[in-house]
Each structure stands twice: as C-alpha cells, then as structure tokens.
Symmetry: C2
Subunit: 221 residues, 2 copies
C-alpha cells in the first residue's frame, strides 16, 4: 500500500454522505464521485459496500467503547476499585451522548454518522451491534460490585434503561424538541447526561421497595 489516499478518501466521503443523507439513498457511485476515485476502488479496497459501512461503524464504535472503558477505569481507581453507581452510569452514557449531542452546527461528521447509524440500523451495523454485549458485560460487572445488595435482574434492567434513555435521546432529539417547543435544551449536553444518569441511579437505588413490591405483586397475580 503505497499511500492510503484512495482508501481514506472513500472512507471520509462515505461517512460524510451517509451522515448527510442516510444509508438509504447513498450509492457507491455517489461515494466515489465525492471521493473522486474510481467506482471499482470500493470493492478493491473494502470488498463490498457492506464491509465499507461496517468499517466505518466499527471505527467509531471502538472509539466510543474505549472512552467508556477509560472513564470506567478512572472512576474505579478513584473509588479504590469500587466506583459509585453514578460514575459507572456516567461512563456508560457520557461518551455516547457527548459524541452525538450538542449544537447541530457543531456536530462532527462522525457524530452525525453515528446518529444515522442509530436511527436507520442497516444490516451490517446491526450485526456489529450484536457483538456489543461483551462490552456491556463489563459495566454490568462494575455495577454489581457497586451495588452488591441489588439483584442481578434489577441491575440488568437498570443498565438497559440507561442505554434506552441515552439512545432514544440521540435518535429522537427532534421529537422532544418539538414536543416541548424548544424548552428542553438538548444542546446542554452535560445537563442531558445528568438527567439520564440521575434517573438511572434512581431506578437502581431509590425505588428498591417500590419496584420490588410492584413487580412482586404483579407476578403474584
């Protein structure tokens, strides 16, 4: 490989086009035109369109996961091996939200690409997301250390809900903005993170009896 020029030109053109127009209506011809390379170059360098998309997604995905684990490590070190549940959840949802939210005009191509990936969910990306579980398991383990008294089921539900709130906020920030007529400030990223974390922490700690009673009562029906 003399110089990655063609390869990187394809990658960045593809990321930008997918970010701008979605996976649905961007063709390889659009990409090679924007990258100013030959059509066959995509298959030569990546094998197929899906593998190109996959490479784009794994790159950004691994970066986010690294940030998450790094924040988790810092939190655990600060807590002498046991991080607070607040810090754990913050490490989980913080990098994703910071990466995708914020003033629309300031959003990087990478951010917009990841938002698209979150909304459209095309097959090659779905396949990769399915392998994300090992990564999440590390957070589940940390949560278990942080809240040893809590049942595993509750922890998993808490983790699930935290991710749900974060992802839906990314995916559908527009709806919340419209619904609230702009009064919910999605540009205040740290404020959003605080909200998601606060609710998640409450789900995992505050409502112990409440949830246990309700779910118990439900099951006994």
């Amino acid at each position: 490989m003399a110089s990655d020029h063609t390869r990187t030109a394809i990658l960045s053109a593809a990321e930008r086009l997918y970010a701008d127009r979605g996976f649905g209506d961007v063709t390889l011809r659009d990409i090679v035109a924007a990258a100013d390379v030959n059509l066959a170059a995509v298959n030569y360098h990546f094998g197929s369109k899906d593998e190109l998309i996959a490479e784009l997604f794994v790159t950004r995905s691994l970066a986010t996961n690294r940030e998450r684990l790094n924040e988790l490590k810092l939190a655990e070190e600060a807590g002498g091996g046991r991080a607070s549940i607040d810090a754990i959840l913050r490490a989980l949802v913080g990098p994703t939200l910071r990466g995708c939210l914020g003033p629309e005009r300031e959003r990087s191509t990478a951010a917009r690409f990841m938002i698209r990936a979150s909304i459209e969910s095309v097959p090659p990306i779905r396949r990769i997301k399915n392998r994300e579980i090992d990564h999440l398991r590390k957070f589940a383990a940390a949560m278990k250390r942080s809240l040893p008294g809590r049942s595993e089921v509750d922890l998993y539900w808490g983790l699930h809900f935290a991710l749900a709130m974060a992802h839906q906020t990314i995916r559908d920030s527009e709806r919340l903005t419209k619904l609230s007529e702009g009064s919910c400030d999605l540009n205040d990223v740290e404020g959003v993170i605080d909200r998601v974390v606060a609710v998640s922490v409450m789900a995992l700690t505050g409502g112990e009896t409440k949830i246990a009673e309700k779910v118990g009562a439900q099951r006994a029906r």
Copy 2:
C-alpha cells in the same frame, strides 16, 4: 369495489412478510406471490409501495393510539378528571408493550410487524411517526394536570424517558435477554410495564431535588 379480496390479501401478505423478513428484503413481487394476486394490483390499489407500507403502519398505529387514549380517559374518569401520574404513564406505555411483547410464539403478525417498524424505521413510517406529536401532547397535558407543581421541562423529559424505555425494550429485547442470560423475563409483560412505569414515576416525582440540584449545578458550570 366489489369485494376487497385483493386489497386485503395484499395487506395481510405484506404485513406477514414484512414482519418475518423486514422491509429491506421483501419486494412487491414477494408480496403479490404470497397474496396470489397480480403484480400491478399493488399500484392499482395503493398507488405505490410506500403507500402500502404507510397504510399498514397507520392502521396499527391508530389502533394503539386509540387504546392509549381510552386507558387515559378511564384513568381520568376514575380520578375525577385528574388521573394519577402512574395511571397516565401506564396508559402511555401499556398498550404498546402489551402489543409487542409476550412469548415470541404467541406474537401476532401485527405485533411482529410493529416491532419491525420500530427497528428498521423506513421512510414512509418515519414520516408518520413525525405526526405523532399531537397525540403525545394529550399525555403531556394530562401529566401537567396530574403534577401541577412540576416544571414543564421535567414533564417532557419524563414523557420522553418513559417512551424511550418502552421502545428500547421492544426494539432490543433480545440484547437484554442475552445480557442477562435469560434472567430478565420479558414474557412477563405486566411486570415489564410495572418496571417502566415505576422508573418513569420516580423520574417524575421521587428525584425532584436530586435532579434539580444536579442539573442546576451542571448549568452553573
């Protein structure tokens, strides 16, 4: 229209195929083959493929919205015009979750179709979802009546988070099952609803000071 036979055959074949195999790889030819009608029938009866998909989705969507509003009305009548926040949120997320969750083998075609629609988010469906805001506004109004002391921003966030938890649970129940190695019982639909509602209620009531402090502190940075 002598008999809707062709029309309904197309609708139910399409719903089943989309439910089973997703929007991505079901063609009009697949649908007409399954419905045992002519290819041109789709364009004749629906105008276009997208309009067919739209009709499928609006039908199910309106049904869910009716259920939601009905539950809301019952709750408000029971509370003398002011429903409890618990009941409001239950009316919001209950119908959707009941419609889409439950034992996989017992799921109706309609349920599986709506799960697909939630996962794949194809353009005609996205367009319809964007018009859902008026419907949600009714729940926001009910919540406002139920929790007059709460700021509107908090209410919108609570509504947003409730829907986030419900939808992510539908969209990604598989991940939660795998992550928890089956210990999170997603077949206990009422139990799931209880969890979502309980967390949402806590988000809207329990943590008032906590969230206010945190968000406030954050904003002051």
